[in-house]
Symmetry: D2
Subunit: 282 residues, 4 copies
Amino acid sequence: MEKTSFETLLDRYNVFFLDSYGVIKNHGGLIEGMDRTIQRIIDLGKRYVVLTNDASRNQEQLAESYHKLGLYNVKPEDFVSSGMMAKNFLQAKIKQGIVTYLGTDNASLYISEAGREAVSISKLQPENYHEVSAMVFLDDEGFDWNIDINKTLNLLRFHNIPVIVANTDMIYPKSNREINMAAGSVSRLLENILGRSFIKFGKPDSQMFMYGFDIVNKYQITAKSDILMVGDTLHTDILGGNKFGLATALALTGNTSETEAAFLIRSSNIIPDYLCDSAGIG
Amino acid sequence: MEKTSFETLLDRYNVFFLDSYGVIKNHGGLIEGMDRTIQRIIDLGKRYVVLTNDASRNQEQLAESYHKLGLYNVKPEDFVSSGMMAKNFLQAKIKQGIVTYLGTDNASLYISEAGREAVSISKLQPENYHEVSAMVFLDDEGFDWNIDINKTLNLLRFHNIPVIVANTDMIYPKSNREINMAAGSVSRLLENILGRSFIKFGKPDSQMFMYGFDIVNKYQITAKSDILMVGDTLHTDILGGNKFGLATALALTGNTSETEAAFLIRSSNIIPDYLCDSAGIG
Amino acid sequence: MEKTSFETLLDRYNVFFLDSYGVIKNHGGLIEGMDRTIQRIIDLGKRYVVLTNDASRNQEQLAESYHKLGLYNVKPEDFVSSGMMAKNFLQAKIKQGIVTYLGTDNASLYISEAGREAVSISKLQPENYHEVSAMVFLDDEGFDWNIDINKTLNLLRFHNIPVIVANTDMIYPKSNREINMAAGSVSRLLENILGRSFIKFGKPDSQMFMYGFDIVNKYQITAKSDILMVGDTLHTDILGGNKFGLATALALTGNTSETEAAFLIRSSNIIPDYLCDSAGIG
Amino acid sequence: MEKTSFETLLDRYNVFFLDSYGVIKNHGGLIEGMDRTIQRIIDLGKRYVVLTNDASRNQEQLAESYHKLGLYNVKPEDFVSSGMMAKNFLQAKIKQGIVTYLGTDNASLYISEAGREAVSISKLQPENYHEVSAMVFLDDEGFDWNIDINKTLNLLRFHNIPVIVANTDMIYPKSNREINMAAGSVSRLLENILGRSFIKFGKPDSQMFMYGFDIVNKYQITAKSDILMVGDTLHTDILGGNKFGLATALALTGNTSETEAAFLIRSSNIIPDYLCDSAGIG
């Protein structure tokens, strides 16, 4: 598959759905040239939305984290996160009781913003188990893996409540050389043991794409053919974008390395429309 | 879980998303009282949309099949089928070449309506393999299972093309006592052998719900809290409806029998808001 | 991984467990040099056993098929087949009733030799369903895929009987360019739909290795460290041999091509002790 | 399914393969009457072997733990553990280097008895990664779940070494009301993330049955039809026993409760020959 320069794509499309980790930033900070890419989109009067499988921070916190990287133009409403999808679910379907979670205090904002009482699994007392109306996997930090995952297992065995996975990613790059298990690994472990399927939010599911699509259409009527989804992961960004009917570009700055790209595209059969060294421009 | 009479729900909600097979009709024809339910919805000035995992007939053919059952008011635009989602995908993403398929001639309308040339796997010649730009699983009929599934396997091994599953249901009831494998079983078999994940359309994915939501909002602004999803299957209708943020009712007239309902709800952890003997009224 | 000449291995080990399809023969007949390899083993006073995931023919028929290839020295007792494991199971555990099967008449010998009445699914009448005491997947031929697999599905839904998979291979090479689904694909399809795990025989499970080990030990006390397992498939031959504690050699004359070998060893993490172009010698 | 008194079975069979946890003992200590059962077997001049999916203690430690429960007659050689199978594998196949593990110091005896240097993942230094020749999952204790499982993940990503699961059980009962994830859950998590299948030892695989069979045949020639496998778990004890050709009895004193037994037998299709309240006698 031939590579395309991202400058060409900036001309060809009017709206850019950008994955966050692996496209805009990574463990080392901002990805080279992404400040210029975002400025160019703004200068051209075009639009972008950040679509991220992240439930560890709300929109305000996400925007703040971008400001710290020097992307001062990025606003809270430019983000669509899988955590927001989970929050919408809780708002629509969970009308009472405690919502318990695995994750940090920051992440639990998605629950309290949905109007529900959030109690970490770590702090949940067995005598309150019967008050729990839902359980959410938010983040891989903020709890003791051995104690609290076993506690969750025992809670779910006998309490028939909705279980929500707010970030289905299995791993994330912790450094150049190391990866770390993400919330989706923990939820998969419990699905395996319990023999159940939890309710999952995040790419490749259509909801985040639909949400981003609604955002851009509020400003200006936009056809799907005007939108380019840019991601670093075939199974989430590219599969989800393709399925939603968007053009897709795989950027080689994150989960998919240049040496593996051709093989992974062939073996997964998930085919991006474009292959780019980076979404950052010179 | 206590049962609710469907009459109560007809009062409580303004829009009804109805599954077709197992809710409105089954192998024996119209389900008792569903003609009265649909008439009542119309008389009350409310709306319904039929959400069906079906890729064997287009909207016109679906409406016709309902007319034959005596439901003369049902119009083509009242249907949202998984086949339509597949058609939208083909239209947006497949710009050239032959689209080959497993299914009947009727089903192939979804391909030709998307502006692509449809050629059944049965009739596809090896010398044309290189012209094939996509493959679609449409129906469990219209081909030789041994010869044509093996032919599909060999086509997909070496040709890196998008593969679309337009109906992910694994089985359907053929009679009171017998079930039959559906298109989703055939696609799952090939996913297993090839070690790939195909692109799947149909409930529980959000796209059909979003499509139905758009339809009703064209007529009148409708909140998700005004909509009830009615289905007979936990893993498609109820899971999908819950995830989209709708109230959900499980009707015991199809895949889920009264004796199994409590157990299946507990073991799957997919929890409908209501349990009804039937969506048909007296 | 460096390659080893098979001549070296003929010197180093005293007993050779040989896979059949892909090592000794393939769709084109005898693999070049395998007649000389077997003659050399005999001349050196060493031993071999053929370990094959095959339930389509009994030991006599297997030997005959080898005679036709010019391997006149091969005797029925030189074969250990997965069908024999299934036959042992039927003999030990199924004491009465009809045993029904998917496969050819030839394959059904494994059932009748176990002392049970064999009736093909194709010929089984619904009024006899209650007499069926077990079901066996034997071969991918000898039945109508659409009609008879659906018939099997309906039989198994309501009849709580042991289900045996006598060959778990998913595919086999039909020619240089084409593969075909094997009995293991059909059984996997039904396991998926029914949500059950059947009883499976064949490599990589230890039983066939144990059986082969007993055969050679009847003649002469042999340590595991004297035995080399030679196969063309990582997941069956090499995994099974490794797990049983044998040295293993991957021959590149069948399922694993030279170009893929390094990648497949790395991604599967199934590591043969030796890599050989072929087990055939000059 | 009708229940059988275990006294009847003590008369009918000559050799008893007994699962440990859930049949002989549980979290509360000795299961009522099991001291009398074992004494009766001895008094009748019959034999028993304990077949346990356990890699946390070697044979001597297992016998000691039984002595503490008052079963003074039980000897080290009466145990066949999945840890022993893993040890045999290491002995046969891993000729050099460090073997790293997840588990307690006790469990690591299986490695050092195989003649290999055992280093806990917790203590393994990255500069020694290249010296590691195999990795073993031994126990769910003895390490930090978050830190050390992530460390294992990163070790295995780039080092192509055999990975052994010495106990495939997913959970174990920690008390009357609580379960705990076992070593098999941790290994499954990493298999999922890495997309690999590890080498697994323990029931239902045939190796432990074969090993037990060899033990009893050293003393006295015994046919499989003389042996009864007694277990509390369908997927390990009963499936494995059935597959090996033994008669099987499900004891309702552990993982399978009386209320669930009929349902689980039907849904799993794993059918014991006998159902017993307990293997303990009055």
